[in-house]
Amino acid sequence: MMTDIQVLKRKSVEYRQKILKYIVNAKAGHTGGSLSCIDILNVLYNHTLQVSPDTFQSPDRDRYIQSKGHTVEALFVVLADQGFFPESDLETLCQYQSHYIGHPTRKVAGVEQNTGGLGHGLSLSVGTALAAKMDEKAYRVFTLLGDGELPEGSNWEAALSAAHYKLDNLCAIIDKNSLQISGSTSDVMNTDPLDKKFEAFGWEVRHVDGHDLEQLKNTFDQVPFQSGKPSLVIAHTVKGKGVSYMENQLKWHHGVPDQEQYSNAVEELKLALEALSA
């Protein structure tokens, strides 16, 4: 019998396989960022969030809002695995007339909000979390932000309001892969130190290794980190994680592997899965 963490570890590799499969099929996608945030999504959907296809219409469900909409392949692969829709639907990703577009859309079962423009998810999450407080509901709101989107000023407007309204039912996660489309995040526009900034804004902050499933589980279990404060998880991640030639390589921000590259990635992930079974 596998432990929970073993199940999660297998899923992370399988999700990576599927992300690549559907990106190659679509000939488009945000490969590096999907691979950097997939472990976070794995833990959220398979451990943390109280939401499923059966409860998605319930006003009491936990919400997940993906602010960094461009890494939609990670979200779609996880939602398919959760049973929101058949995985084979993803064969139409980005194809003519498909509603599986290159960003989250509510036309896809399981998606809470249409995102893609950056700096929107945190405000949407604040509004959703505020409604829970007003109605004395117990649901929580998790939102995933990219580190590249943080210079959008709307994030900081939202960060102020989350603390002002003591939204301890809100948890933001930053996928801190330290890269964005045109370079290293600290070169493009430095946002460090994020912990001090958010603490100064009134948030309670934790750092985690964004690929350590056990750490992610335990960290999300502790939300809210402090009663009366919104929680921030700074997840230190590697863009392209799990495919060695993609890791920390800028060109894989939205690079699509050719056949040979894809075969190499498939082989590497197959070995990773075998190593887990051993």
């Binding site: 909000q113 929107h120 604040v126 959703t128």
Partner: protein
């Protein structure tokens, strides 16, 4: 046909009616939520805040967050009114309106207060002469400028129930009550006055000067003029337009908005593409930053008055 002045009494500002109507709605519905960006005072929402402190959310001067938070609230079933000066709401938060409200289909009621040139001499930073144009191009958004207290109250009540995003804009000047047998309904123009010689299609706070112009034209030139309050800019009441143009009447449109992209161009586009070619003129604010003055002075400067509109009419009719 109405032969005498249809205006009965000078009444309240549409803004006051908005505030009172919201209080009435909130008294029986705890899901009514107002979101403000330090706009509680200018939105006449102080009494609302005192009566319903659990139903008002302040976000500070942060319009992007105002609209994003409103969208999040609306996604849970709250009946949300996001209130901010029209100039900031529709320019600074335009992407939030497009993505978080319209595209995500979160039925927020966006309330643009002190719209058009209501802020007068505070100048162009505070004017919203672009809002119809930008919002008309966004799918899944009803765009409305009520003319009088009745239209405002109805618009607020109907918007609260509607599961579709709505943008409502109005000013802060007391507006006379207009008489019409047409009840208020989104997307349906109200005929305020009927005539056969010309139609003035106006919206928001220009409907009243349009009506005054019609009465002046009858008095001084024996012209019988139709006046329509086209409160809904989108979706446009094309069947009414069809009917008016079908009779061959020349049409003048009047709006407190740039002549580019607003009511006038919406009407022109429909008419031209439906082979309804009648003498036609668009009145509004020309493509410039406005002259300094009060709302009344700005209206007067650009001819959005009984005199200006009747002169434009005579010129269109070659009289």
């Amino acid at each position: 046909m109405l032969e005498t002045i249809s205006v009965l009494t000078e009444t309240k500002a549409n803004l006051d009616v908005f505030s009172e109507t919201l209080q009435q709605l909130a008294a029986t519905d705890k899901d009514i939520v107002v979101v403000t960006s330090d706009s509680r005072g200018s939105g006449k929402l102080v009494p609302f805040g005192l009566k319903f402190p659990q139903q008002i959310v302040e976000v500070g001067i942060a319009e992007q967050n105002l609209v994003g938070v409103a969208a999040g609230l609306a996604s849970t079933g709250k009946k949300v009114f996001a209130v901010s000066p029209a100039c900031f709401l529709t320019a600074r938060a335009l992407e939030q309106i497009k993505n978080d409200v319209a595209y995500s289909d979160n039925p927020v009621n966006l309330i643009g207060i002190s719209a058009g040139v209501s802020y007068g001499a505070l100048g162009s930073t505070h004017h919203s002469l672009h809002d119809f144009a930008v919002l008309r191009a966004i799918h899944n958004l009803i765009v409305v400028a009520p003319a009088d207290n009745y239209e405002t109250e109805e618009a607020i009540r109907q918007a609260a129930l509607l599961e579709q995003p709505v943008y409502l804009r109005f000013g802060k000047k007391p507006m006379p009550l207009l008489e019409s047998s047409t009840p208020f309904e989104f997307g349906k123009g109200r005929i305020i006055r009927e005539g056969k010689d010309l139609a003035i299609i106006a919206t928001g706070e220009t409907v009243y000067p349009a009506l005054q112009a019609a009465e002046k034209l009858e008095r001084e030139h024996q012209l019988k003029v139709t006046v329509v309050s086209m409160h809904t800019i989108k979706p446009l009441d094309t069947s009414l337009l069809n009917e008016i143009a079908g009779s061959g009447m020349p049409i003048i449109t009047v709006e407190e908005h740039s002549v580019n992209g607003g009511l006038g161009e919406a009407c022109a586009s429909f008419l031209l593409q439906n082979q309804k070619q009648v003498p036609f003129k668009i009145m509004g604010i020309p493509d410039e930053y406005t002259v300094t003055g009060s709302q009344a002075e700005i209206f007067s400067h650009y001819g959005l008055t009984d005199r200006g509109i009747s002169e434009a009419t005579l010129s269109l009719l070659n009289l």
